[in-house]
Symmetry: C2
Subunit: 154 residues, 2 copies
């Protein structure tokens, strides 16, 4: 959404190497991220997954016991109502099931099905292939530099 969102003709913005670089950084950041995410989503779609679904499954594999929907919302950095609907769809997919929390009757927990466990492993393997490929383009120094720059950008 950033590309060419401004015109470059304002005189006071034409200081060389100055302000137009701000836009270029934002544009490139957006483009590179979108391209990578598209690639990840396309790969995961081949096993019936998406990034949010894989994140939920991975959290469940890690915890080895049912997890509250609120905790999943924290993990996905999204709002609770989003998780409610995501778990709805994942239950239809047969990847998870809702179980009640004996200790707190307000809570609902998501539990992994065996199909969910298998699918998670497949999804993670696909992610690894992509990461290996992305990584291969850079030297160790470049990777460190990129990480440092991205962290400073925030």
């Amino acid at each position: 959404m950033y590309s060419s969102d401004m015109n470059d003709t304002e005189p006071d913005e034409m200081v060389p190497g100055s302000l137009c670089e701000g836009r270029r950084i934002m544009t490139e950041l957006h483009r590179a991220t979108a391209a990578l995410e598209q690639r990840v989503e396309a790969a995961l779609a081949t096993v019936g997954l998406s990034s949010p679904k894989l994140s939920v499954l991975t959290r469940l594999v890690e915890s080895r016991e049912p997890v509250t929907l609120g905790e999943l919302a924290g993990r996905l950095c999204c709002v609770r109502s989003n998780v409610t609907q995501l778990i709805d769809r994942m239950e239809v997919d047969g990847l998870v099931r809702r179980v009640s929390d004996p200790g707190d009757r307000r809570s609902v927990r998501a539990e992994l099905t065996s199909m969910g466990r298998q699918r998670q492993a497949a999804g993670i393997e696909l992610l690894r292939v992509i990461e290996r490929d992305v990584l291969g383009k850079f030297s160790t120094d470049d990777r460190q530099r990129l990480l440092g720059l991205l962290e400073g950008l925030c």
Copy 2:
């Protein structure tokens, strides 16, 4: 969606400086981009805009005449049906209006309203402030490095 989507305990993935860096790059890319976009969306929301709406308005300002919805879809890198609905909402907002194309009766063009023009200027100014701020964190060298690395990532 990338954060901690894998566990780090597989022995053959623990080569130092190797595979776990691929995930870190993807995670950081995702995080930095999301943070920036959130900031942009929050700023634009104060003038009743969003990134896609500002992109449409900017294209219309640049062309100085009505633009077909198909061309806008190309500009936004999205599918035509998305633009149909976006223009629906922008017409309700009073930012654009649909006009018919005299030369091709299949086509519909979006035309800027005076309110749309004013809003575009306000949105661009907000974007400039953010870019100036992001830019200020880096030296000229760092900006060039970051751009180069992002371009290579794709």
